[in-house]
Amino acid sequence: MKHSAPASPKSSGTSPGGSPSGLRGVARAVSRLWLVPVALVLWEIGTRAADTPYFPSPTTIAVKMREMWLNGPASRLWLSDLALENFPPSLARLFAGWALAGVAGIVLGVMLGRSVLLARFVDPLVHFGRAIPPPMLLPLLIPLMSIGTQMQLTTIVFGVIWPVLLNTVDGARYVDRQHMETARVFGLSWGQRLWRVILPSSTPKIFAGLRLSLSLALILMVISELVGSTNGIGFQLRAAERAFDPPALWGAIVVLGLLGYVLNLAFFAIERRVLSWHRAAKQTT
């Protein structure tokens, strides 16, 4: 690493010397994104050379996507009715499921991480649940809840909670002994230990889990829309598959990828803020 000095949390994020000039912003964007056009060109060349209907070229996919989702009026950001009908419900499911799983995963994770006894009783159940493929839950879910939102959310939560849970358990369990001892010695209350010591010290791991589960949530969103759904990106993906329409199928895949990229970018921004102490503290020059 060639950074001249560890940035303090206050000055982190922006480059030294205040706001980046336009030119530097461009340079940064280029350094971040140069591989994208390269990959696109390679993809185009590859698919054209292969010339199989299941692997349409990116341009074909783009045309199809435009036709499906981007032929609306400018006032709606060009989104078509089809897009407006399918994207928002999917996103709502995605966020609701992810948030629920995140909260539940962190809460349960801290409990299991800190209570050796509880962990002993519950551990097998956790790992049992973790290994069950979400699509195979159907026989258990149908009798217990109604098809639609309830079942979709359950599927998403069930599928994405594990990375958060496991990473939180790990983070909470392996808090530096000296930190826990300090907390004990100074008689920090249960809540203080949780909020001031255990959680901050586990945040790096929790964030790793949250980041993993964010992408998983997209995947589970698709899976949850495969059964009993009438709209959504996953529903469209399934429909394209059924209609043997590879460009539409790939279109849905690309949307998922783009969505994942944007979500991760946002997540990354938050993480940079929350974990600034961590980066700075662990930086070597």
Binding site: I142, P143, I147, V227, G228, R238, R242, F244
Partner: protein, 304 residues
């Protein structure tokens, strides 16, 4: 025995003797099992193995990539794929046509849906959208004067093994069920609303065996040998219910008891272009195909 098969294969001049067939674990493909069990394939010099698949549509890539040589698929999927030019397919043989009572619209006991007209504003369970289940259900609804959009009838995808659960818990008001699920539902109080294979869908062709056009043109003798053996088995199955019941446990979880009472599908011994065209025509009528599709392009030279 294998030595004999090899010599006869050489004598027949087969281009390929080892075949893999991808098929659903349904009563429809009983003839394949009969042919394997009774050595019909062997006699033709063929060594046939089968792989269980989950759906003709999702297994199609396997046919294209050479994972399977022959694919058992419902016509709706296959015709869609062919008309979309995703795959260049040929029908080797018809697998099944519907018989009365083998595909039924069912409701739970005590349901307030007793006739098709009651389905207004309701949700109907099908195993897969855009397949034979949804097509024949739509046709039946239309026959009864219902319109999907106007009467707000929806379809929900639910796998067959879970359909009864969904019916009993009221997730769907009615469900498309094939045999042996129909018999099982009836045994638990399920109510038949209507037979789906009547009128325009009477003796409706359900599924067939497909190869890629490329395979067909490269292996004409193998394909012919396969057809001969299969047709022999088809006629056994069509005439001898015991023979079917015998092989079902070999590749399905249908137990002997159910096998005896369930309604079997029809096993045609010819490939009938007119019959198949009916499927294609209904598909274009109901918007499953963007433009009319002539099934002749799927037939092998000898079938036209």
């Amino acid at each position: 025995n294998s030595g004999k098969a090899a010599t006869s294969a050489a004598a027949n001049g087969l281009e390929k003797t080892d075949l893999t067939i991808g098929m659903l674990p349904l009563p429809e493909v009983a003839p394949v099992q009969i042919a394997i069990k009774r050595g019909f394939f062997k006699a033709e010099g063929l060594n046939v193995k089968f792989t269980i698949i989950d759906g003709g549509g999702s297994a199609l890539p396997s046919l294209l990539s050479g994972g399977f040589d022959v694919l058992h698929s419902n016509y709706v999927s296959a015709f869609t794929a062919a008309s979309q030019k995703v795959a260049d397919l040929k029908v080797v043989a018809e697998a099944t046509v519907a018989t009365p009572g083998s595909f039924v619209l069912v409701t739970a006991p005590n349901s307030n849906v007793t006739k098709v007209e009651d389905l207004k504003g309701k949700t109907i369970g099908v195993n897969t959208k855009r397949n034979v289940a949804m097509l024949t259900t739509s046709v039946t609804l239309k026959v009864h004067g219902l319109d999907l959009d106007r009467d707000k009838i929806e379809f929900a995808e639910i796998p067959f093994p879970n359909m009864w659960q969904a019916l009993k818990t009221g997730q769907v008001a009615a469900a498309f069920l094939p045999e042996p699920f129909v018999s099982a539902a009836a045994a638990d109080g399920g109510v038949k609303v209507t037979d789906l294979m009547a009128g325009p869908t009477d003796s409706f062709p359900i599924a067939g065996y497909f190869v890629t056009a490329d395979f067909a043109s490269k292996n004409p003798k193998t394909v012919a040998a396969f057809q001969r053996a299969l047709l022999k088995a088809q006629s056994v199955a069509a005439s001898d219910r015991k023979a079917v019941a015998e092989v079902l446990p070999l590749y399905t979880k249908i137990n002997a008891q159910t096998a005896e009472i369930m309604q079997l599908p029809g096993y045609p011994i010819t490939t009938n272009a007119v019959r198949l065209q009916r499927v294609s025509d209904l598909m274009s009528e109901y918007g499953y195909l963007q433009k009319p599709f002539n099934v002749n392009s799927l037939l092998l030279a000898g079938q036209k």
